[in-house]
């Protein structure tokens, strides 16, 4: 890094493998992932399921240990001093993380107390967050009665309770209806104004990363394939895309052959690679032009 202050979050060459099925080799969830997140910014990890986004979050949030590589949060090494890291991070995991049998307020106060806040400052902070996330009226209701959107807002509020320096948001809007999604986006967007917090966000959605992130990295097969600001990456794309899913990775060369001449393929093969077996970039006019293109002609015409 060129600047002298340490970044809010840094991961260097993270490798993590999990045992495979019996007799199969180990699964490489992370294969040399490196990222840097500056304080006060939102950084998105974008990629398909199984790309390694959540594994990266788990390592940075001290839940899981990498096989090799280094990671630090605000200059504190996650492997050498996990407890130090736990004081300054907030984790909003993929699953709902509130206690269903406690009210919204109780959830928040307990989260604050656990982080060493006094009873009065935890209550004040909880009241503040409840009104900011428009949960005042539901404050005394049990979390299990919350709708998906409200529960997710409560999860984020719980993660912010102790004013963390880094907040992890693992797929915050997956499963939400469009309105709840827009509302949550607005809250996340406002975070940087209210809290001096760096956010690491994982998502499947290009529009979500575009909307929220200052910088984003496209992750696949456990490594960062492309990184930049949303504007930089869009400039590479130059215009609209049509999405098509291919069943297997073998179809990629054929598909690329088919769409030869279209601007996307020509200018940005990196993006095509980034999405591996699920390329989002595809032929507007599909013609069987290439011997390796296995798709039957009839289906192709349609």
């Amino acid at each position: 890094m060129s600047d002298s202050s340490s970044p809010a979050l840094s991961a260097v060459d993270l490798v993590k493998t999990y045992p495979g099925a019996r007799g199969k080799p180990r699964i490489r969830a992370l294969d040399g992932l490196s990222i840097n997140v500056q304080a006060g910014t939102v950084f998105a990890l974008l990629g398909p399921n199984g790309a390694g986004k959540s594994t990266a979050v788990k390592i940075l949030a001290t839940l899981s240990r990498p096989d090799s590589g280094h990671a630090s949060v605000a200059g504190i090494d996650v492997l050498r001093d996990p407890n130090g890291v736990r004081h300054i991070i907030g984790l909003v995991s993929q699953k709902a993380s509130s206690d269903p049998m406690a009210t919204a307020r109780e959830n928040l106060v307990l989260a604050g107390r656990i982080h060493g806040m006094s009873s009065s400052s935890a209550r004040a902070r909880a009241a503040d967050l409840l009104s900011r996330f428009a949960l005042d009226e539901a404050a005394e209701r049990l979390a299990k009665t919350f709708s998906g959107g409200m529960a997710r807002k409560l999860d984020v509020a719980i993660g912010l309770m102790h004013r963390p320096q880094v907040l992890f948001l693992d797929e915050p809007t997956t499963g939400l209806d469009p309105q709840a999604r827009t509302e949550l986006w607005a809250e996340i967007d406002r975070l940087s104004a209210h809290e001096d917090v760096a956010v690491l966000l994982t998502t499947h959605y290009l529009d979500e990363a575009d909307q929220l992130a200052d910088r984003l990295a496209i992750v696949d097969h456990g490594r960062v394939v492309v990184e930049g600001t949303p504007e930089q990456l869009k400039a590479e794309l130059k215009g609209d895309t049509v999405q098509v899913e291919l069943a297997t990775a073998e179809a990629i060369p054929g598909a690329m052959c088919c769409c030869r001449g279209l601007p996307v393929c020509a200018t940005s093969p990196r993006l095509v690679r980034a999405f591996g077996p699920v390329p989002r970039v595809v032929p507007a006019r599909c013609r069987p032009c290439c011997p390796r293109w296995k798709m039957p002609t009839s289906r192709c015409r349609r």
Partner: protein, 281 residues
């Protein structure tokens, strides 16, 4: 920037780190115990069942096996079968409800609560103590209720208050042992059905290979032998001795001591099982 840190650091700057750490462990344990008790309080049906089940067992078993006291050689210590079986039912109740202890962890794992706590400054030890203390508190309440019902049904315990206190301590210890086992299973198996299956599989033999409902001197020799190493039997024998007229304290203290040592060892081992859970996520 991080006010939580600043607060923790400025409020007690003179305390040595080790003591502050221990204070925080205790504090976190209290928060988490309170959380579980609050949850129980909000599930009145479940709470009622927890309290009613032992009453039914006491009355049912007390009636069903009433005549076994007439078998030559059966020693009740003092009086009726109801008095004999009361400590047995108390220990059985503790075993059964503690066998379910791990389900709290499973619920927390199925939601993101477990991950959130593990990524917070809460020590694994506090997460363990929180559930064990909750289990011990419910066990104490259950025990007092069974004593009340036994008294109303005519049982009289010569051991008096001391006997009741010893019974409560021994029962709380066996419930901590079983709850630790259940928690460890939850962390290793991470599945509700597997947890319940295994713990029920363990609970019944432990109970029948003890003098909970039957004087083991009338059982086959091997049962007597096994019972001697069965912690459930330690708890039953210690309680029954303490409740009887001529308490042999030499039979009580070593058993209570073994129970305490085993409870501490099991809680420690169960806390280690968090590593296995974390390796799996």
């Amino acid at each position: 920037m991080s006010s939580a840190l600043a607060e923790a650091a400025t409020s007690t700057p003179e305390l040595p780190a080790r003591r502050r750490e221990r204070g925080r462990l205790l504090q976190h344990s209290v928060y988490l115990t309170a959380r579980s008790l609050r949850t129980l309080w909000r599930q009145p049906t479940f709470a009622a069942m927890t309290l009613i089940a032992p009453i039914i067992w006491l009355l049912l078993f007390g009636q069903l096996f009433r005549s076994v006291v007439h078998i030559p050689g059966f020693s009740t210590g003092s009086g009726s079968y109801l008095e004999f079986i009361t400590p047995g039912v108390i220990v059985m109740t503790a075993l059964f409800s503690s066998g379910w202890a791990g389900t709290v962890y499973i619920d927390d794992m199925n939601r993101g609560v477990m991950d959130r706590l593990l990524a917070s400054p809460v020590r694994r030890g506090a997460m363990m103590i929180g559930t064990l203390a909750y289990q011990a508190v419910t066990t104490v309440v259950q025990t007092l209720i069974v004593f009340g019902v036994a008294y109303i049904s005519g049982a009289r315990f010569r051991g008096g208050v001391v006997g009741i206190v010893v019974t409560i301590v021994a029962t709380a210890l066996i419930s901590v042992i079983m709850a630790s086992f259940s928690n460890a299973l939850a962390l290793l198996l991470r599945q509700q059905e597997a947890l319940i299956g295994v713990s029920q599989f363990i609970v019944l033999p432990l109970q029948f290979l003890s003098s909970a409902i039957m004087d083991t001197r009338l059982s086959p020799h091997w049962v007597q032998h096994v019972a001697r190493y069965n912690p459930v039997d330690w708890a039953v024998v210690a309680s029954r001795q303490a409740l009887s007229a001529g308490t042999e304290w030499g039979a009580v203290w070593p058993r209570v001591g073994f129970l305490a040592a085993l409870a501490a060892a099991m809680a420690w081992l169960a806390t280690r099982a968090f590593r296995s859970y974390q390796a799996s996520i």
